[in-house]
Symmetry: C2
Subunit: 456 residues, 2 copies
Amino acid sequence: MADKAAADYLKGHHDDFRNRYFEFLRIPSQSALTAHRADMARAAEWVAAALRAAGCPTAEIVPTEGHPVVYGEWLVGKDRPTALVYGHYDVQPADPVDLWETAPFEPTVRNGRIYARGAADDKRLYCTIMALEAVARTAGKPACNLKFMFEGEEEIGSPSLPGFLREHRGRLACDVLLSADGSMFDFERPSLTLAYKGIASCQIDVRGARVDLHSGGHGGGVANPLHALATILASMHDADGRISVAGFYSDVKPITAAEKADIASVPFDEEAYRRDLQVPALFGEVGYTTLERQWARPTLEVNGMWGGFQGDGSKTVLPREAHAKITCRLVADQDPDRILDLIEAHLRSHTPPGVTATLHRFPGKAKPYMMPRDLPEVKIAADVLEDIYGVAPLYTRAGGTLPVTQMVQDTLGVWTVGLAPKGENVHAPNEFMLEKDLERGARVFADFWQAYGAGR
Amino acid sequence: MADKAAADYLKGHHDDFRNRYFEFLRIPSQSALTAHRADMARAAEWVAAALRAAGCPTAEIVPTEGHPVVYGEWLVGKDRPTALVYGHYDVQPADPVDLWETAPFEPTVRNGRIYARGAADDKRLYCTIMALEAVARTAGKPACNLKFMFEGEEEIGSPSLPGFLREHRGRLACDVLLSADGSMFDFERPSLTLAYKGIASCQIDVRGARVDLHSGGHGGGVANPLHALATILASMHDADGRISVAGFYSDVKPITAAEKADIASVPFDEEAYRRDLQVPALFGEVGYTTLERQWARPTLEVNGMWGGFQGDGSKTVLPREAHAKITCRLVADQDPDRILDLIEAHLRSHTPPGVTATLHRFPGKAKPYMMPRDLPEVKIAADVLEDIYGVAPLYTRAGGTLPVTQMVQDTLGVWTVGLAPKGENVHAPNEFMLEKDLERGARVFADFWQAYGAGR
């Protein structure tokens, strides 16, 4: 099954590919930061040019209301199946920059690892472009029809993608979506991810007096927005780590015994995980294992919280406002809009006297996703991964969200098979992927295309 | 009683005094910010030079472990009483600067008000220098002995002042401390403040995993320091606004019926206060009026709180740490060190699983202070204030802290009479005092010295 010629080509051009990859990593394409709009456009241009250079007959930049989509096509025959390849060229903000050992947008190799913001999530999409070039330069063309769709808004919840999918539905028609996002279970242990959580995100803004007040003169007289925000946030979980927002669990499907067994079969050392994170204890919803909580139970996490004085020393201020950012990760059959409705109702009933609290909804949202385990494309992927990694893949879930999965299911009616190599410290300082996974990741895609085109 | 010559001198030199005052206000002497150390030294030099220029025979800069004290003396006779004049040349940080209508360190007059950081708190100490110059240029010398002590650490809790008072105890010997800090009850309603709250300040640091984590991948698996901090802070008050830290109220003296009557006699319109602050309702410890809460009950206020992502939009991070700054305002007979012990014990018993929380104590602290109402100096001050304002002063308390009061009581054995004019928006953006209060404030000091020296 292995495409030896493509593999040899990839090996022979390692340094060249790595240099080009570094060019890509140097572009600070942080979609959440409005100051980086020009970098987003630059990253899109870079990807389109790379696709064309790899041999893709068409590669264009399709504008959206937000950041553009890069779209390319290589159609080889109506009798062949069609794979739509997905990835995203935007990255998380690099903040807090001072915790990076080397600059986030100056890729650095240390101990066989490539460190950079986006080195894994998700500029590894470059693996698919490498695969295409290898196939083009050896076999002349891919064995199946290929379509490439690389968005620039994944890290802000893909607000433009649903419209893009609907508008270009005919052109995007395919039999499977191959994702270069997501991740293997471990560096040497491949996996196929059957479920992704949905997401809903919002900000809570608490306002008190019209100006910051002297906490001596006014303290005790008026409510402190920081106290109010702390009270509101604390009211969202009980002491057992269970979410206290009324109705939050109403649409959650219980984990079946078979699913529990699947999750338990995944090698996961809770104590090693605790040690690695250097926390005194793991903690979460009581009654579930750590993997069950992360993979199969919904969460409500505060991602940021602030108000008042943050400088050195103390300042005796009673601030006028306080803020928190929240994301919820959802499992079937939770709906993101309904979840935000519930949080808003919770806010109305849990805001202490003397302040006002409002909910601001962020556009990024996704429904939860769960794929059947017996899909033909899952079988092909399992064979390719076992061949390349030398070990059969695990069947896992993800605590994170791949919004494209549910959107593609809704508009194109196909499932998503994730083939991307593992990254580490994604969304955190010192993100990296293995240098060897550039080549290994590309081989996975090349071999899948060949097997898929050959009807296996 | 009024010193007409001094009053005429002050009136005749209004513009000159204002221009010199503006020079003082332009020095950004923010004691809490280490970057402004040179400005602190510059402010001290400015004050010493101003004292000498006003006629004070000695004015020197006395170094401390922190910011220096400016000290001056004009002794006129052993048979005369001695007043020690107090003020502080440091100011609160101007942050958040973008909420100021005009630059905080570029004084601006609008509608008869002088706007600048420190225009009131406490660069109005310049009133005492104006008074000295007026007395020197008219009567030739003051009627009582005068000592001037202007510190540079009031806004950070006066850490060096107790040592300074102890070390220079003999030299500082006096019969009363006259404070140019504190404030009148209203612009046209003078007051004498009988009590100041004490203060204790600290920071809570909550730590979780060794790095920021992806809130999708890790959410539900490990404790979120932001949730833990919110839970800790929320646990410090009950729903009735009462402080829930065990033992917090143990040393609090109940408010007597006579004290309640005193407080009730102060004209204070709760609804007008609410409207002015633009809050939906006033809020605080149930069972007390707003003034009772602000003046006679202790408080625990969070002054700042932060962790995780604060930028535009959303970032799916589970941050590694969270922080909060707290100050407590204390009433008799609470002790600041004991209060911090109680908060630390509360932290130990209320930190949720999966994180560590530590308490950092800030050096700035003060015991609560309460002065007898029948003091001779209080009587003189009442007469002077009634003469100049045209209305008898109220007897009030302050929710804020004037650490010097209790320290001076402890080391020099004298009480503090506050004579400073009212300011507004102190510790907040757009701080101001009335332009006319430069002159009126100076007259109050000049007249007090004359009456005090004449033995009235």
